[in-house]
């Protein structure tokens, strides 16, 4: 089953962390050893993958032009969609990375509407993706307060903004809700849209389940099982991890270890999976190249030495016809023998 197995895998991870953290002495393994190991594997894997990509050259300039190229003076150049300079490329890439521009493009004018159609706006995917990615980013930044001591004051501002609606006690963060909503919507999309469901693989469900697991355990910790969670001890551990002097001072609830272990799993899984699209998007030759290939030569490092079928060979084969037809030749016909 494409989604059954990944789901069970995440459940298994939860169980491992839960049961494992209950064994005396294993807290250190789950709280210190695994995080270091996972971080090391993440960094190694990430760098390895980027180097692996970087090792292959970009032989041809294959940008996809999505607008008018730079051309004659009176033709308006679309600088973002057919960039001509490096700064235009940077602008195009920034829009792509920060606003998912290509997904946004996924718009279609609906001119004809038959009898009651289920219109599925094409912007959904873009919205879900934005919702998830930005929530995740903010949540990640908020977590920095655990690792930094003292933490920068801007984290306070961020937390204030994130909790500005002042709902519930403890105050709910908007991004926590958005993160889970985003993930659930992305998951539902995979389940409900036949087309997407058909192309989805286990590798598409696993990260969604894993991230949901992380988000749910995190939320449980903050809002529901708060009484059992010793935040001071966690902060101490986190700062310790960040400063390479990890200590576990008190018993921390299993839910924390589950959360942490799932994060470790994510870190290990990340570089070997499609999640590397985070790095890959910067490398995409159809987006990150200038559309100036006629103005400046792009170099192919392995340009093979291939000569055309030579003119001389061509003329040798057809000289007689060419002379007959009055087409100029390099070498005249040999004088006719009597």
């Amino acid at each position: 089953m494409k989604y059954g197995a990944p789901f069970l895998a995440v459940i298994a991870l939860v169980l491992i962390a839960w049961l494992g953290s209950l064994i005396p002495g294993m807290q250190y393994v789950f709280g210190v050893v695994f995080p270091y190991l996972a971080m090391a594997m993440f960094l190694y894997g990430f760098i390895r993958q980027v180097v692996y990509w970087g090792k292959s050259p970009v032989p041809f300039s294959i940008q996809t032009t999505c607008g008018q190229a730079k051309s004659l003076d009176f033709i308006k150049h679309n600088k973002l969609e057919a960039p001509d300079t490096n700064s235009q490329v940077v602008a195009r890439m920034l829009l792509e990375v920060l606003t998912f521009r290509s997904l946004f493009r996924n718009t279609q004018a609906r001119i004809y509407s038959g009898p009651k159609l289920t219109h599925e706006s094409s912007k959904w995917l873009w919205m879900f993706a934005l919702l998830f990615h930005y929530s995740f980013l903010v949540v990640l930044i908020r977590h920095m307060r655990l690792f930094l001591n003292p933490y920068p004051v801007c984290l306070d501002w961020l937390e204030f903004l994130d909790g500005i609606f002042q709902i519930g006690a403890p105050n709910w963060y908007i991004t926590d809700i958005c993160l889970v909503t985003g993930l659930v919507l992305l998951l539902l999309r995979r389940f409900c849209q036949t087309k997407v469901r058909y192309i989805s693989l286990a590798n598409d469900y696993f990260p969604l389940f894993l991230l949901l697991g992380i988000a749910i355990t995190g939320i449980l910790m903050r809002y529901c099982l708060r009484g059992n969670v010793d935040v001071v001890a966690i902060k101490q551990l986190a700062v310790g991890l960040a400063t390479f002097q990890p200590t576990i001072t008190a018993d921390i609830a299993s839910i924390f270890y589950i959360h942490l272990f799932l994060v470790c799993a994510l870190l290990v899984y990340f570089p070997y999976s499609k999640l590397m699209h985070m790095g890959g998007v910067f490398f995409s030759p159809t987006r990150n190249m200038r559309n100036n290939t006629r103005a400046a030569r792009h170099i192919n490092p392995w340009n093979p030495d291939i000569k055309p079928h030579s003119y001389a060979g061509y003329e040798d084969e057809f000289r007689e016809f060419m002379v007959d037809a009055g087409i100029p030749v390099e070498k005249e016909l040999p004088a006719k023998q009597a």
């Binding site: 279609q108 004018a109 609906r110 001119i111 004809y112 509407s113 038959g114 009898p115 009651k116 159609l117 289920t118 219109h119 599925e120 849209q193 036949t194 087309k195 058909y198 084969e317 007689e320 016809f321 007959d324």
Partner: protein
């Protein structure tokens, strides 16, 4: 007497005929009303049925933009326009116009002819099913002779269109050949012509 009888007989038959006409008109009106009332549902199921012969009908069903989804769009439009006509006096030419794009699409999709045109007949079954479920109009099921006849006419019109489409396809093939591009593949092969060839002008 006889004259009288004859007269009255003629009169009776005339009245009977009038009644019959009125009856049939009323039925026709009833059916038209039923089709109007269930139009959406019938077209929905009709399109769904027709699209079930593609590998990924889901997309064709959902995407409403006829430019992003020409197959689904063409079908929906054709069936939606065809349905009310089926309760009226069938005009073959009208059918042809309405079904043109639908049939043109079906004619190039690697379907055998019966597969290509089968969806048109499906409406007979769909209508019966929907009427049967509608208590007020269940009685209409017994008298769908005219409707079926109209569907048959539409199918025959589609059959003509289908043949026309196939013939046009072959004509297009021929035109391509005649335009000279066959020289691309039917010209002498280079390896052969590497040997000296005679002057061909």
């Amino acid at each position: 007497m006889i004259v009288l009888l004859d007269f009255s007989l003629t009169e009776i038959s005339r009245v009977a005929w009038r009644i019959a006409v009125a009856e049939s008109l009323r039925e026709q009106a009833d059916l038209a009303e039923a089709l109007r009332c269930h139009r959406q549902k019938i077209v929905e199921r009709w399109v769904k049925y027709a699209l079930s012969s593609y590998q990924s009908p889901d997309f064709f069903l959902r995407e409403g933009d006829p430019f992003a989804n020409p197959i689904g769009g063409a079908m929906r439009q054709a069936f939606d326009r065809l349905l009310p006509l089926l309760a009226q006096k069938p005009e073959r030419l009208e059918f042809s116009e309405i079904l043109r794009q639908f049939v043109q699409i079906r004619a190039v999709q690697g379907l055998v002819p019966s597969q290509a045109l089968a969806p048109i007949y499906a409406v007979k079954h769909i209508l019966r099913d929907i009427l049967a479920a509608d208590k007020e109009r269940a009685a209409l099921v017994a008298n769908l002779y005219d409707f079926d006849f109209a569907v048959d006419i539409a199918a025959l019109a589609a059959f003509d269109m289908y043949m026309e489409s196939r013939e046009r396809l072959y004509a297009t093939r021929l035109a391509e050949l005649k335009s000279g591009r066959h020289i691309l593949t039917d010209g002498g092969c280079p390896s052969k012509t590497l040997h000296p060839v005679g002057d061909d002008g």
